[in-house]
Symmetry: C2
Subunit: 297 residues, 2 copies
């Protein structure tokens, strides 16, 4: 069985095509690593790469990309809508096959140490790698952004896990951590009422009383529709169909229907197979034994 991890580094550059091409070329050139997907958002001024392959090779690729990004991106010049704190903003490591989350935590710590030692970029460990509960959530680490880092790091609560005490002058700080696979799942509603989407987002997300492994926000789309935009952070504990059916019955309160949904980027097949099993009422389906492709990965 081939061991596989996924890595989804986020870089604070979504506009300069020369910089992006350099990073894409680098990501594509490393033996044992496949660049499965990448996308850049101009208004966010941010790019997201999806790498996968042999664990050691993927971690090496993540370091090399972080090094190259620190040479090419100067956060003092950076503007964009998405909150950010580093040239390489965040590096999540995700177990895919025959690798445990604990092994990914160990790899994230080795990677974090190398980034701090060799690149002089302070690193915070987050999610499953976090050294305290207050550091699990990326949004808390990132609060204050690049501009607020110098002051934030003087607070003992925010001493970096590796490196520091000062942020890198142009590359800021980076968050590194192991986490489970995350599914970007958006549900579009047949209305332009943002208040409806906001109420539904509140109903389904864990932080306001909804499903523990669901993060949700309301967004207005260009087409005069609204969307409940979600990150499903544990599709086994909180399956897609359960959130989808909840959105359906919450929307019905306002006479609103679900128009469509979308899965953005990659998704483990089990998340969708589990939902098919629910709707088709399949009893005792054994994903690892009965799904043909699972025997060939």
């Amino acid at each position: 069985m081939t061991r596989i991890i996924e890595c989804v580094p986020n870089f604070s550059e979504g506009r300069d095509l020369t910089t992006l091409q350099t990073l894409v070329d680098l990501a594509s050139s490393i033996a044992g690593v496949a660049l499965l997907d990448w996308s850049a958002d101009e208004s966010h001024n941010r790019s997201v790469f999806t790498l996968a392959g042999d664990p050691e090779a993927v971690v090496t690729a993540a370091f090399d990309l972080c090094q190259q990004a620190s040479r090419l991106i100067d956060l003092n010049q950076h503007q964009g809508e998405h909150p950010r704190m580093g040239a390489t903003d965040v590096i999540p490591l995700i177990p895919v096959r025959d690798v445990s989350i604990d092994e990914c935590v160990a790899m994230s710590k080795a990677l974090a140490k190398r980034i701090a030692d060799e690149l002089e970029i302070p690193v915070f460990l987050y999610e499953s790698s976090a050294t305290s509960p207050g550091r699990r959530n990326l949004a808390d680490i990132r609060r204050g952004q690049f501009e607020g880092l110098a002051e934030k790091l003087t607070d003992a609560t925010w001493t970096p896990d590796y490196g520091g005490p000062k942020p890198h002058p142009t590359a800021g700080v980076t968050a590194v951590g192991a986490r489970g696979p995350l599914i970007a799942f958006n549900v579009n509603l047949d209305t332009d009422r943002l208040d409806v989407a906001k109420a539904i987002a509140r109903a389904v997300r864990g932080s306001s009383g909804g499903f523990a492994a669901c993060k949700a926000m309301a967004v207005t789309l260009d087409q005069g529709l609204v969307q409940v935009s979600m990150n499903m952070v544990d599709y086994v504990k909180t399956p897609l169909y359960r959130v989808f059916e909840t959105i359906r019955f919450e929307a019905a309160r306002w006479g609103v229907r679900i128009l469509s949904s979308e899965v953005v980027g990659l998704c483990p097949s089990q998340a969708l197979v589990d939902s098919a099993s629910y709707y088709l009422q399949i009893a005792d389906f054994d994903f690892h034994r009965q799904v043909l492709e699972q025997h060939f990965i």
Copy 2:
């Protein structure tokens, strides 16, 4: 990308454990081939093996198993409920990854020729490999069974595609052919009325006006329930959810509900992902790009 085919040979032995163990040991011993599953049915006196792996290795394994079965199984001594015509009754070859159905047809012909030449067992090509429309359907080839073969083969309509003109004295004849993946999908109804299950089976199966790629029959289960037992022979053309929802609304005519369903044996993930996409209303889902595991097969 590793090329993969699946092969599901059926043998006319479901009772003698010594014979079955010999076949299982043989199937497990061939490099490049995995024995994913096997099951034997005592009342049918029949066994089904699921092999997969490198195309050439799988075809070699199929030949070796057919040879061993012809040594161990004498159809003159065979009794069982399931219709049969050969020691190895049927050998379907199924494309899984990076192999076309046409390539499987070519492989099926080479395998059929070898079985006829070296084992002196006449072979009929069936399904996508069939040399005439009347030979596509296995049930037509098998009609008359082992006992009727000597006479059937004297009819010019039933000259074997390879070998003959007489059946092998103990191993009969074998059908070999390429086909798409088949999903055994059963839906259990909350009633003991076999007439209801029969009416629903007629409504959904292609041969009586239902869905083209669905074969269906009604079965009484031990628990005092009835079942619509199906073979879904093209899950892209006739998706699982469409048949399931049809069974739901047909059953409602009699006030009957669907209790549960089951997928027997292996199933390509796409069949379930397609159904999840329907129920979750996911727009424009690209199976090959967006399903994570597809990048590692």
